[in-house]
Symmetry: D2
Subunit: 443 residues, 4 copies
């Protein structure tokens, strides 16, 4: 992910320094466990921990360069790290990594990084949820037109719209919690997962210390269906971001103007057109959603590794793990901030709702005619006839409102009272259940 769409908190998780810190932690914990078991000297484990902690605390670009230098020769990243560690720890380093395979370190480290990332994403979601909730309550009774097919349908409230997005993100949060659980596993099981040279107790010890579960059965690696499920969860959440972003983009369009992204002092919308105030945040979120979603397929393709593992997944994960989590972290915070500061225009909402001459109340009129004993088919024809008469003459000198047309139609006025029509044209009915829905959503 390009720096433009990155926050330091998430980027740090994917830094070499964090990775090597975790690698060492896994190795050091495994040594402690082996020492407890008597497999290696207690003193060796102590020295490894002590000297390693010092080396990692002082980890610098020089260390990074040294590791890269070793890897250039060995062409193996874990061996390069272990060799560097040996240079720091001394002779006791021969007790490090005993009976383990590289994937024990690599995969358990990835689990730690992904859980760290998930924890940050959960915080982000909480902020996004809070923003949506606040704005939803603020606009619980702000009347606006509901639209299906981008055509005015019936009134609703702006708060209710936001409550729907809140509920979607709340589901997304649950999915993320579940996805975090999927990848919060530790595997220290040796070359092909048989624990031939290492006791399962080592794995249990390391897992407990790292806050992970033990993988019930690994091959050489932690199975990639777990990671695929994780990226799926991110993909679904990002699609929810896109849905909200598309809503904002629609609301800000020149002909709608019901809401606007906050426009900063000094901000310029266009190099050529000084009048422009563009919904660039929500457009950006739309693009970021495409990116995050694009990581789902390669994650799925990574599942079918050959036999006990091949390393094709590695190049994919080195890219999509940071890209997807950094991108989603950035997008969630940007979305939360956008919603916190969204400028809402309730008057314009009313104006738009009323701009179609009242046809948006056709559904209730249809019901009123049905209640008056007219068949569904006939009622539909009567209402559609009057609505279309309104619609096609909108803004014309001879145009009449839907109500005026209905009042002039014998099929209507002879059958239902004006008071019934009055009620049918009252937006209040559409907000009557909002409290009940809010209780469902926000508890």
């Amino acid at each position: 992910m390009v720096p433009r769409y990155s926050r330091p908190q998430m980027t740090a998780i994917w830094s070499p320094a964090n990775r090597y810190r975790i690698w060492f932690e896994i190795e050091a914990l495994a040594c402690e466990a082996m020492a407890e078991q008597g497999a290696i000297p207690v003193e060796a484990a102590r020295i490894i921990r002590e000297k390693g902690d010092i080396a990692l605390a002082a980890f610098s670009d020089a260390d990074l360069a040294r590791i890269d230098e070793i890897e250039a020769e060995t062409r193996h990243d874990v061996i390069a790290f272990l060799t560097w560690l040996a240079e720091k720890v001394g002779p006791e380093s021969r007790f490090v990594h005993l009976g383990m395979t590289s994937s024990d370190v690599l995969d358990t480290c990835l689990s730690v990084q992904l859980t760290q990332a998930a924890d940050l994403l959960l915080e982000d979601m909480d902020r996004a949820l809070e923003a949506l909730k606040t704005r939803a309550y603020e606009h619980k009774n702000t009347v606006t037109i509901g639209r299906s097919h981008a055509i005015h349908a019936e009134p609703t409230s702006f708060g209710l719209k936001l409550a729907g997005h809140y509920a979607e993100f709340a589901r997304g949060r649950e999915r993320l919690v579940q996805a975090r659980k999927e990848i919060a596993v530790c595997a220290i099981s040796g070359a092909v997962g048989t624990y031939a040279h290492i006791d399962p107790a080592i794995e249990e010890y390391v897992a407990a210390k790292l806050g992970l579960e033990v993988e019930s059965v690994s091959t050489q690696v932690i199975p990639r269906d777990r990671h695929a499920a994780f990226f799926c969860a991110l993909g679904v959440i990002s699609s929810g971001i896109e849905r909200l972003a598309v809503e904002v983009r629609h609301l800000q369009r020149s002909e709608v103007r019901e809401a606007e992204e906050f426009f900063h002092k000094g901000q310029k919308g266009s190099s050529a057109m000084p009048h422009k105030r563009n919904p660039v945040l929500s457009e950006n979120l739309t693009g970021l959603a495409r990116l995050i979603r694009s990581h789902v397929v390669p994650a799925l393709e990574n599942v079918a590794l050959w036999h006990e593992r091949d390393i094709s997944h590695s190049a994919v994960e080195r890219n999509i793990c940071p890209d997807a989590t950094i991108g989603l972290d950035f997008a969630l915070i940007r979305m939360a901030s956008m919603m916190e500061k969204l400028v809402v225009y309730p008057d314009q909402m009313i104006a738009n709702m009323e701009s179609l001459g009242g046809v948006v109340h056709s559904g209730e009129v249809l019901l009123a005619l049905a209640r008056a004993g007219i068949s569904r088919e006939d009622a539909y024809k009567i209402v559609q006839r009057n609505a279309m008469a309104t619609w096609t003459r909108l803004g014309q000198p001879d145009g009449r409102s839907f109500r005026e047309n209905l009042d002039a139609d014998p099929d209507v006025k002879d059958r239902i009272d004006a008071s019934v029509l009055d009620k049918a044209f009252d937006p209040a009915q559409h907000l009557a259940k909002v409290d009940r829905i809010f209780t469902r959503v926000f508890g």
Copy 2:
């Protein structure tokens, strides 16, 4: 999904007859609930139920044609159905669908169909799990070589391989249970989800009768993140199918021959080469996995509907809902059957394992040298040197086994006893923890 990859059980769920049956059920239940509430006459609800039940029970191609005919004029599928129903039910039909919108019927019906599909898929998975478990126990102690990078690594057991696949499908089953829950929701909330013309109690009644949960907040539709999550779950499961299929394809290749798909009497592998016995089932499963996985992205793209809904999702779902569930149903049953009948060749497994002159035991030798006090770096060089000497002369007249090379190497023989090497070359150590792993996996 083409008929070739379809089973009638799943296809039936997506038939027009099943769809119309469910549509009617939703409408009839809603009428019952409205009657209970006093919103429509009890007698009307009774007649709708009675006459509708008869019409649906006798549903024929003529009815299908009639509905299509009406839709050709109205260009609206739900209105076409309601008009047909009115022809069957008579005047009481005017109480049908009161205050509801098409999506109330369409989306709740889709929820019912997807849960029906999920239930069948769960049965399929149970059969697949059972097959994997049975074969895993059968081959719990069948020694075979574990491979990373498709290169011999260390011995494992064939049953342990299968246990890994079992565990993956068990996770997949849990994901499917969760995904089923995601889409087992009912929405009867009217035009834009405000319950303006219909009481939430109607929705609650219908949901309870259909075994669904009530959607906490709908727009005009049930939010599509639910469906996206459903397709993601299918995509991850299909990738697990691919992993097992790729394993079988590898095991059956001419140079490996450790297992074979059952070859039917009369079956022909090739029109040109009568000797061929090809792993066509597992290859087919690989292709089906690609198909099922391909439905994930359009499902994600369906999430960001405009405002309270647009209908772009419809064309996608009309295709991917049947395609993905029919395809996965077929694939799971084909996979289960393939595994039930898989022909396994333990002798060939041993022969392959031994074909590399014993270098597969290099890991344990490395540890033995380390335990003898040699540094990791030096031990690695010693072992690699001897392994490569074996490897590069494999099958040559002057070739020596890994053990022979080690025995001749002063750096080895001067430091560790022959008995230690004997132990290092014993495959038994690799199976020692299999019971423990099986307990973790199968309980």
Copy 3:
């Protein structure tokens, strides 16, 4: 593809009858070529052709059932067909398929079907292009507001918008011509592409008769990069359909109403809201685009077949070949028809353009100030200040138009003449180059 989105012309290409007709044609042509070479008796080739033609001309469901029956035993589709053919042709059938492999028939047949499909798609595109061109010329000078970020930018013409879509589909047509060429290849090269049992002259003869090129080097199959490129071309075209569909959806939205899909007599927009006239065609096209695009990834995944081929691609192609071509054929015709009948509202276009108080002319005012010697930075501030003053008071009692605000601003009026502003506010300047662009696009 579900029947709802299928046209019979394209569906027929993918029918079993067409497939078997092509299979026979390939076999019969190969026999003719072999007879010419003296590899088989001329009389045998004559009888095969004669009896085969009769059998295929009379091909019925009974034949289909018979082939399926044989395949159920042999589990091999080409062998099943050849066995059925032998039943029809008699003893001379032993000269059929000599030295060939199934893929010679399957892949060459697929090439024929895909070229047939491509030819139909090219016709579709011609109709779509014609519709776009006609409407573009019709509205060459219909002034409408151009929008970036869905915010009013500067005036343009509706015809110019359509010219842009025309140019995109013209590029798509070229890509399709190229893609057709990619898959218009014939391979009759035997088991692994070595022509071990069949002379390359046979392939050349069949290719020439079928209007195909000879594959320069096949494995057992025609390489799948060709098919992947084909599906990519369809994917790009479908994305162009989506772009036009999204434009129409925007133009039809209640607040814009600049254009509308033709609304059929009798058509109903909503079961609950009789006033609705929804852009269902363009929404449907959006969904179809998602579907067609979803076939690109599995087509790409099909490329990396194992060694000289595996059969994983088959299940994918049995689905995506018909689905993508049927879907795109349907979508192109639907789109062409939609554009032919699109109802355009030029008055509303003017009304919308003028609704923002003239700020859409800010760019030209900026230039006028720059020409008057004001620095870019200062000019920008002046113009933005007046535009925002207009924008934020739009529709308010104290609101002033952009021109009024400029006229009252000493930084403007002291520096540029009213006549210069008059010119800056004249939409004509935005249409001055339309002829030139049309010449570029339409020639």
Copy 4:
């Protein structure tokens, strides 16, 4: 793309310095053209060019920081650059960017960068093609077994395999040339593509100087179907890389060992198993192919921008443009190098081919029986019977070779001479047409 999979040549194309250099070039060229037209003073254009060239030549991190600082306020990247440029150029800067819109600069710059990237990729492909051609000729007559379904089929030559990959990359190269042409376009057409404030002659001048074609009709942007087609071309090429990579991985697997990636001195295959020599390059290429392929879908999703443009594509392109081109550049060079140094084992190829007791010659025996007048059906049964008898007893004490079984079968020996069988078992027949194929492929 992470640095690990990046080469400096390609990375440089996507550096801020290169981008700003191109931005300036576009602005300076536009000024020159405007001066030629008399739209701005010639002296101004000269000063802009002169001072700008100096500023860009001296471009440093401080300049980068200054631009970022301005963008932090204006939230607009092009305005930030223009403001910085104004600081360097002085008062004449007011003639820069006159009548242009940001996208004129952004999109034309992207065209330049993508063509630069394409040129480098074409060089890479040439190296890859050269490597494949060299190795193909080297192994033109190296007999190896052809495999379908990973099962031995019939002999072929290793050179012929490589010729097939060569032909695929040659097609890929043509697609890349075409894709380069697609995006080598310049648009300088103002706010919504109407040239309202800028003469088309400016665009023509800039295009010619930059080696680009003029976009026939732009909106605000160069239409994204061009870019989508570009990424599709990269996706197809990457799938070809995957096909070759998968071939190498298969050939190197322990049971096949027909070829091996070059293993560097000092290289370590595994931290736990010193004997390992893993095909890590080809596995890595497989993963990179997944990554590059994953950019196709977001590129397709970018096509349907709203109206004259929205900016959702931007976030996508900022990532996938560098990621896909850097990744493919790295992958092509890695693949070329891997093929240049691939270690091939012809003896092992022969050994593998012969390991199945000669059943790989079943196709020719089938034909021999057919030529002897036996029906296809009967001949198939005879050959399959003997092949299976061989296959199922492979390596058993009582196992007999295919030839031995045929010699003992009266249905065979009574009908065809031993000399015919001798010929059927001669691998030479399979190489007879290799020269002809090579001529087709390599000319």
